[in-house]
């Protein structure tokens, strides 16, 4: 007899959601996490004595409402901090654009740059908000198996009619038009201010390797705004740090009877005759089960843990052809004092800042990655999480966490080294000095995570935070591959629930929810 019905490999947000929902349905579930704490990309940790940081994500853009409801997250103690100013796009002349939750206030901020843009702003946010309704419904679906789609699958997609009824076919046409767009193209239809165009485009390139001139950055922009209620650049902090999202899910999972083991590295997913029957841990322990669900990325899951020998050749090729290409680095700065940002008052500091003065600025940074170099003038997005969470730093001291693009995993004629990480850090400090004079003198210590480090630490292939790039060729029925887009792998009893599946990356739990639903169907 198997001790467990289901083993979930990995302890990130989606794995926890899947485990918890399955636990709710009276399954005996075991979750295995390699690190000494759960959370994956939603981890909070100490990076310097007395200084804590959110390792990867400082904010969540959206959480699937189905997950919130099903797991009754709020009762488990998670509190969101949703700032009024969701983002500040920094301007070299201190005429920053403040993105408020309230579009009218944003309008006032934009009007210092362009009256015309200010007038168009509210309409733009509603336009984008409406288009995201199509994604919201799409994200609830299990992708159909194409090309030979049956009546049952076609019927399961009928919920897509809801947004169509709401916004008309015209709305659908706009959705189909904007998804494949590139940022300059979308911006040409709406805005003229360079700063505003750059600041909006930043949403299109969030956590991807391509620049704003790449086709279908429109899709990524919409992805960032699902359930945003037309609040552009919507962002929520989690009180106590992003790790509390994971902690909450952990509590939920435990209350649903899920057994959790940390510091348990899975060495192999065991397959016999094409059927998955358990896992073997690094210490040699073998655990048998009926079903294994992997929250890891497909390369990690299939090539490393299952092994090529057990994969059919066409699936092996599909997995090998998944595009990862991480190019995001994280740098955490432990600071002696609160940084002063010119033109920003202290009560506005609990937000996300972006250095994106123009579309071309971001594109030039992306060009560097194209040729296998790190950007000299990178696109930098940063927060000061210690403002929201006083426990992140000793009294009077602060933490500044920066997300840096573009810093490719695949470098040319060099490899990731300590020297290169220092150079990267210096580039970022140099960029931030433009807005925070004297920034370099405030730095007590810092921690740099290159895509290579992210791979090592989190098992992210090529350091890609989305477990596969968020591009149209890896979207919906193609995510992660055409033969494994239904959360089911070609190997019997082996399933996927991570960001590599539909609907992609982010701390929203939608993948985990959909995966659990598929497994419960059986």
């Amino acid at each position: 007899m198997n001790q467990f019905d289901i083993i979930v490999v990995g302890g990130g947000v989606n794995s926890l959601v899947t485990a918890s929902i399955l636990g709710q349905s009276e399954k005996k579930v075991l979750l295995l996490e390699a690190q000494n704490q759960i959370g994956g990309l939603a981890s909070t940790t100490e990076f310097a004595p007395g200084y804590k940081c959110n390792l990867v994500n400082d904010v969540v853009k959206w959480i699937d409402p189905r997950v919130l409801k099903k797991l009754d997250i709020e009762s488990h103690g998670m509190e969101l901090f949703s700032p009024d100013v969701v983002r500040i796009a920094l301007d070299t002349d201190d005429q920053h654009i403040l993105f408020h939750r309230n579009a009218d206030q944003t309008t006032a901020s934009i009007s210092t740059h362009s009256e015309k843009d200010a007038k168009a702003w509210k309409e733009f946010t509603i336009y984008i908000g409406n288009l995201t309704h199509f994604l919201e419904k799409l994200y609830e679906l299990t992708p159909p198996k194409l090309p030979d789609i049956g009546l049952k699958e076609a019927l399961s997609m009928r919920t897509m009619l809801t947004p169509v009824r709401k916004h008309g076919i015209r709305g659908l046409v706009d959705f189909l038009r904007v998804v494949p767009m590139m940022m300059p193209e979308l911006m040409n239809e709406w805005f003229e201010s360079e700063l505003l165009r750059g600041a909006i485009s930043a949403a299109g390139i969030h956590h991807i390797t391509l620049g704003p001139f790449a086709t279908a950055t429109g899709y990524n922009l919409l992805h960032q705004h699902v359930y945003s209620d037309s609040v552009f650049h919507n962002a929520h902090f989690i009180k106590g740090g992003t790790g509390n999202l994971a902690e909450t899910l952990l509590k939920s999972a435990k209350s649903n009877g899920v057994e959790i083991r940390t510091s348990s590295t899975v060495q192999s997913i065991d397959v016999a005759n094409g059927i998955c029957n358990g896992v073997t841990l690094e210490d040699g322990e073998r655990i048998t089960t009926t079903k294994v669900i992997s929250g890891l990325d497909p390369t990690h899951t299939f090539i490393k843990l299952v092994g090529p020998a057990e994969l059919n050749p066409s699936f092996f090729t599909q997995v090998r052809n998944i595009k990862y290409r991480g190019s995001v680095s994280r740098i955490h700065f432990a600071l002696n004092s609160l940084p002063e940002i010119k033109g920003v008052s202290q009560d506005q500091m609990g937000t996300v800042f972006s250095v994106s003065p123009s579309i071309k600025y971001i594109e030039r940074a992306a060009d560097a990655a194209k040729y296998g170099c790190i950007a000299d003038d990178p696109y930098v997005e940063f927060t000061i999480p210690s403002i929201i969470n006083s426990n992140f730093a000793p009294k009077g001291k602060h933490v500044l966490s920066a997300t840096v693009q573009y810093t490719p995993y695949h470098l040319r004629n060099q490899t990731w080294s300590e020297e290169l990480k220092v150079r990267l850090k210096n580039n970022v400090v140099h960029v931030l000095e433009n807005y925070i004079p004297g920034f370099s003198t405030q730095i007590k210590s810092s921690a740099v995570f290159s895509p290579m480090d992210l791979e090592d630490k989190f098992g992210l292939t090529e350091g890609n935070l989305n477990h596969g790039e968020m591009t149209l060729n890896q979207f919906f029925f193609m995510r992660p591959t055409i033969s494994s887009a239904q959360y089911k792998s070609p190997i019997e009893n082996l399933y996927l629930c991570g960001p590599s599946t539909h609907p992609g990356g982010g701390l929203h739990g939608a993948n985990g929810f959909n995966a659990a639903r598929e497994i419960l169907k059986l």
């Binding site: 030979d148 790449a214 279908a216």
Partner: protein, 526 residues
């Protein structure tokens, strides 16, 4: 006002699509008039003697996609259509070269000289692309349905397409999806390893498009250029005897044969619209022609923002047309030569001069060329697709002299400081220098040089922003969205006003397809 003449249908623009539409309408017994602004027919598919004795296909220069049924139905061979095959694609490299020819064995040997693995793959790749091309053909041959309010016929057509897709194998469907969404570089990287081969193949994904080989979406443009490759053999590109203008002339002769009237030097000023209905056209000289139907072969911007008044169109349609992406990215340099260039890596005459020469040594080369354009400059070291028409067709140049046609990318329409005479000459110099890197004697043999910037292409051929496809072939501008939702079936919001140019489905290239399908659609409901 001078005399008013009556026709069943008037076609604005004597490009190859306009002429094709005219021929089909005339063939159906309609009284048709074609009005061409220039002194010569053909639009962008035109041959002109630019320098005494030297004839150039000055704009569009090769033919592959012309639909077989059009050739047959319009009896084009009888009227002079004669396609001479391009025998090879030659990619000169620093100290070596890559040569692919119509001879499969030779191509295999040439590629395996660089990569045996690629040589094997190449033999499988061609047929696969052929299959995918076949899989897409039913879409290309379907009149794009009205996505907003589909008719019964539209629904029938959609059902047929859906059923067609169900017949595709998983593998075909996967590759088709990838081709619709990926960059040509990514797609080719999944197959090949030898960079110059990949770069040269990827280049067909950037032609006429303001994208680099690493830009998602370029794989579709590559597929578009493979459509002519129906037999799964070598990309069957050909050169028309007498230049591409002779293709247009063949279609024009066919149209005349069926009874169409064709006027040149007859620029249309405006479409006459009364009560939301097109009644005819008025020429720049004031002449008026009345017709039951008016059909524009111009690009969507000219058709709707110039030929008619905005006030005659719904405002959301005007917005769609204004947002239609039509960025010009290429230029053309035509050279009259006193001999043939001598390539360092493959000296002397040979089959490599009887085909296309591709200046595309690596992805990075193409990407850097794109980067220049992205930031508002022409490429210092551009991508080029070069042919020597006079080698294939001696009639194009005086004895022992030659003509050389260079399609050049990137030359952005919106260039810093704007296009002027100095910029044009600088651009021409950059082109010659880039060729000289591989064939240094080029500079000594140039007799005359014609440089066409995107601004020149716009001024000469009426191509808005110099875009050779009447609008880029990106996902949001294909099929039911080309040029705008609800109006992708050749109709327009103005009654009796139609479109038949490359800005409609299935897009650019010398295909004749938009012209044919437009005429058939119009005849269906006449």
């Amino acid at each position: 006002m001078s005399a008013v003449k009556n026709y069943d249908a008037i076609i604005i623009g004597g490009g190859h699509n306009g002429l094709t539409a005219a021929a089909y309408l005339a063939r159906a017994g309609k009284k048709v008039l074609v009005l061409e602004r220039r002194y010569v027919l053909g639009g962008a598919a035109v041959t002109e003697e630019v320098f005494p004795g030297f004839k150039f296909s000055i704009c569009s220069y090769v033919v592959s996609l012309l639909k077989p049924n059009i050739i047959r139905e319009l009896m084009l061979p009888k009227f002079g259509l004669e396609l001479l095959p391009l025998e090879s694609t030659f990619t000169p490299l620093e100290n070596d070269y890559l040569l692919r020819t119509t001879d499969e064995d030779q191509t295999y040997r040439e590629i395996s000289r660089h990569s045996p693995r690629d040589a094997e793959t190449y033999m499988r790749f061609g047929p696969l692309m052929g299959q995918i091309g076949m899989a897409v053909r039913p879409i290309l041959e379907t009149i794009a349905p009205n996505a907003i309010r589909p008719s019964l016929a539209d629904l029938g057509a959609m059902k047929k397409l859906l059923n067609h897709f169900k017949t595709l194998s998983d593998e075909q469907f996967e590759y088709l999806t990838k081709l619709m969404t990926m960059s040509s570089a990514d797609f080719l990287d999944e197959w090949f390893e030898f960079e110059p081969l990949k770069a040269t193949m990827s280049a067909s994904g950037i032609i006429g498009t303001f994208m680099g080989p690493r830009s998602p979406g370029s794989a579709y443009v590559m597929l578009h250029h493979y459509m002519g490759d129906i037999d799964g053999a070598f990309r069957a590109w050909g050169f028309q005897r007498g230049g591409t203008g002779a293709v247009s002339m063949a279609i024009a002769c066919s149209a005349k044969h069926f009874g169409a009237d064709i006027l040149t030097e007859a620029p249309v000023e405006k479409v006459i619209v009364k009560n939301g209905r097109a009644m005819g056209v008025v020429l720049e000289n004031g002449d008026e022609y009345q017709a039951d139907k008016v059909i524009s072969g111009l690009d969507p911007k000219l058709s709707f923002l110039k030929m008619v008044d905005e006030s005659d169109l719904p405002s959301d349609f005007v917005t769609d047309i204004k947002n239609f992406r039509i960025r010009g990215s290429s230029g053309k340099v035509n050279l009259a030569l006193d001999g043939l260039p001598n390539f360092i890596s493959l000296p002397g005459d040979g089959p490599h001069l009887r085909g296309a020469i591709s200046i595309s040594p690596s992805y990075d080369y193409l990407e850097r060329a794109y980067d220049d354009a992205k930031y508002g400059n022409f490429s210092q070291e551009p991508y080029m697709d070069i042919i020597f028409p006079s080698v294939i067709d001696p009639g194009m140049a005086p004895p022992n002299k030659h003509v050389m046609s260079c399609f050049v990318q990137y030359a952005p329409y919106d260039i810093k400081g704007g296009w002027n005479d100095q910029k044009r000459e600088d651009f021409g110099d950059a082109v010659v220098n880039a060729i000289a890197r591989f064939a240094p004697n080029i500079k000594d043999i140039i007799l005359h040089r014609q440089v066409l910037s995107p601004a020149d292409l716009e001024a000469t051929f009426g191509l808005t922003e110099g875009n050779i496809f009447h609008g880029e072939l990106t996902l949001q501008q294909l099929f039911v969205l080309r040029p705008a939702a609800k109006w992708a079936d050749y109709r327009t919001p103005i009654k009796n006003y139609y479109q038949c140019g490359s800005g409609t489905h299935p897009g650019g290239g010398i295909t004749g397809s938009p012209g044919e399908m437009s005429a058939k659609k119009i005849l269906r409901n006449w």
